[in-house]
Symmetry: C2
Amino acid sequence: MKKAVVIGLGLIGGSMALEWKKRLGYHIAGIDLNAQHIQKALELGIIDEETTYDQLWDAEIVLVAVPVNHISTVLLQVLDRIGEDTLVMDVGSVKGHICAAVAGHPRREHFVAAHPMAGTEHSGPEAALYDLFDGKVMALCEVGESHWKLLDRALSIAKALHMRVKMMSPADHDLHTAYVSHLSHVSSFMLGKTVLEIEKDESQIFDLASTGFASTVRLAKSDAQMWCPIFLENKVNVLKALNEYLKNLEHFKHLLETDQVQGIAEDIRQANYIRKILK
Amino acid sequence: MKKAVVIGLGLIGGSMALEWKKRLGYHIAGIDLNAQHIQKALELGIIDEETTYDQLWDAEIVLVAVPVNHISTVLLQVLDRIGEDTLVMDVGSVKGHICAAVAGHPRREHFVAAHPMAGTEHSGPEAALYDLFDGKVMALCEVGESHWKLLDRALSIAKALHMRVKMMSPADHDLHTAYVSHLSHVSSFMLGKTVLEIEKDESQIFDLASTGFASTVRLAKSDAQMWCPIFLENKVNVLKALNEYLKNLEHFKHLLETDQVQGIAEDIRQANYIRKILK
């Protein structure tokens, strides 16, 4: 039976394992520093067995789905131990540092740098879901550095999971995700914090929060263990995006302070263009 | 047949009209400055007929659902023309100015200041929905100023629509909604604007926007005609909330610039408390 090893059994690693079992018939072996995650993943049928770094040589795929600041270290350990035909993929939300870390490795061509752009605000093996990746984008970076045969295997997996593949450079990936994903999280975390600071009475928040607040603040439920490393790994781009956001908020504040209704309406109409892109 | 008049046939006015017809058996007469709105509301069965300000005297209820900056003017016209038994309600998202405007009116006790806390990012009569108010909060302000019999009618309506009533002062209402609703909109409008400014390639936004961005930016689809007046009418409170938000964002920026991972994690964990309030 074809064997796949998943390292890191959280939301993304766990969901990938579920899909690979169901759609591709893999036997899934898992590795996780957290013994409770292993236990839970076995109970939930996410993995078939626990394994170790010494047993990667006969795996067809090894997926590295640990927090983004640990991916490079784990990848280097993995590349040192794989077999001749093993494909290694990661799921990191920031790609620049990772691609740089493996650049000089003699087995670099076994690696396909990947970012499945999907998730929820929940984490851990219990958060793993079927169909999480359905219709979502799988970003692949530096595909020219991967062996064509292993790249082809990665593409087949994406296809089996009904994902749309988008190839781009690590630099482009990290800049765009800073704007389209990471900034949303900063904005939502700080919105949650701001409202919680002022609204000491929780029932007030609950009662007055019509669906608008709930959707805007949804990402504020996301896990610190996942998001701290992402912000730090993509620091330059996140700060760039955050500065643009702050500039726009300060400008809005100025417009409101000076009663510039036309300017506020113009800002809103610019933002409304998002209607045409996201239905 | 009991008659209700709805002035302003947008999302809220239109949805109220639908509910009142269905659940309370009212004959609905509509007023709207926009002839196309009247036409559409007739076509969609939201109203039964068009009416004018001269025919309010025999209405059991008059609902004022125009943009918030016009509510006071319309309310004063309405109060001058109603019958002995007419209940007048509004749906304004900001209550301070409105309550102040009607304070001296000889028929003040006919008025119940209301804010049904529900909505979507769409507008106009086409956006009107059944069940929009189901389980949502109806904020009522200055209830001591309303005649008990008419207040009772307003409460019956809220009950028939399965709304939870929350009574509060206009000042409290305007402060809390600034944090829990209006700030979310500012945050979302500016997020949409920021991302659109940098991402000139629309497919990039679409491709990279996993569900996270979509929910955070959803409110950025909201209408300028509705939101400009809300921001201006609630200017003091919105600026207060926006300043707190900016302070938190600037602090986060400082933490990130100086690699203070513990501080960032602490911020995120504070924001995570929202999990306990909004499931």
